[in-house]
Symmetry: C2
Subunit: 221 residues, 2 copies
């Protein structure tokens, strides 16, 4: 396990101290800047994000609660090693939840909401070409959030958003190939098509495939 290297720009942040440190660290883990196994030294983080010691500690504690980092008493915090079994289990949960509300999604889909989905799906496609990996990741999240919102269960939307970031330490590793990302974009549109047609079963099929696909090639399962 190597520890985080941040000889780079220290005072370049300076200006958005307001945004929460937890999210910044979270994004850096998600972005692959802080690979699994990395030891998160408090002094480094303090300097890196231009914040105080208590801020760092609060952030680390929150991330530990979310099980994104592990806390070893008197030795510090380190980014969780990716566990293949856990990843599969989380996918299973997502499949259960997201297919379960397919019926409500179709039922509640108005022409406006379908348009909204199209816009978000298109933005994802644009980010494939023009955006960074993180922007792509967030465009994907936005699309799926909007989709789930149609289900009408607000708690479920938040819950899925939460468990998503439970295993996907590096979105980079999810969409390994360009072909896979393009495919994802196409699937988004297919899902919207299914909603327009009112074909619930088709939506379920697509949803399950879409979720499972991301993890297909990773780990030995």
């Amino acid at each position: 396990m190597n520890d985080v290297d941040l000889k780079s720009d220290e005072a370049a942040i300076e200006g958005e101290t307001s945004r929460d440190v937890t999210d910044q660290i979270l994004q850096d883990i998600l972005g692959g800047l802080l690979p699994p196994g990395t030891w998160l030294k408090q002094i480094d983080l303090e300097r890196r994000y231009g914040c105080t010691r208590p801020d760092v500690r609060r952030a680390l504690d929150r991330l530990a609660q979310k099980r994104l980092v592990e806390h070893v008493p008197n030795r510090g915090y380190h980014v969780y090693e990716q566990d293949g079994r856990r990843a599969v289990e989380v996918s299973d949960i997502r499949v259960i939840l997201e297919t379960a509300i397919a019926g409500q999604i179709v039922a509640n889909a108005s022409p406006e909401s379908i348009l909204k989905l199209r816009v978000l799906a298109k933005r994802f496609d644009e980010m494939v070409l023009l955006g960074t990996m993180l922007e792509l990741y967030e465009a994907n999240l936005a699309f799926h959030r909007e989709l789930l919102t149609l289900g009408g269960n607000k708690e479920l939307v938040d819950l899925v958003a939460e468990i998503r970031q439970r295993t996907s330490s590096a979105p980079v590793s999810q969409w390994r190939t360009r072909a896979r990302v393009d495919q994802s974009g196409r699937e988004h549109h297919l899902m919207i098509d299914a909603i327009e047609k009112g074909d619930v079963e088709e939506l379920k099929r697509l949803t399950e495939f879409h979720i499972r696909q991301s993890w297909g090639s990773s780990s030995s399962n």
Copy 2:
């Protein structure tokens, strides 16, 4: 909103400083000692649980993350008011998840695991007669945890345990009547019966009924 009254024994704890403060506050919320709306003053908690200021703050932050208390900047933390809609939504999620794995539960149920369930169901029945409200609550959790564990998805078990304590601020309010608690105990045994018979559909029916029942009379939905 009244604030927490704790003129009672202050130094009576002294000896189990080790156990986490977060759990203690959580239990007191669950136990109904800290009703919804109560303002959680840091000084009071500090004295009450015999711990330091940073300990209290860490605990409050964690509970806020779990959405059991709400944080109002510069005004403090208070126990979440029970939201009827949220409670229903969480029940819906539980129904989705727990019925979804009914098949696996039946498939994985060995004679030993069924015996284990019987023991836990019996302990619940005993607690109805002899135990405190909190013990009853925990016996119930233990039964359901064991049941879900048979599904084989460890993440799902933890997730359900998590969302359970998301709304049920006061277990007292859940099982309002004695009749309802007795009924719950009987349902546990019926569920085990269904597993023994290998009747998946029956288990699903019972599970949904069992979950929905707890919230039936509360709030105007």
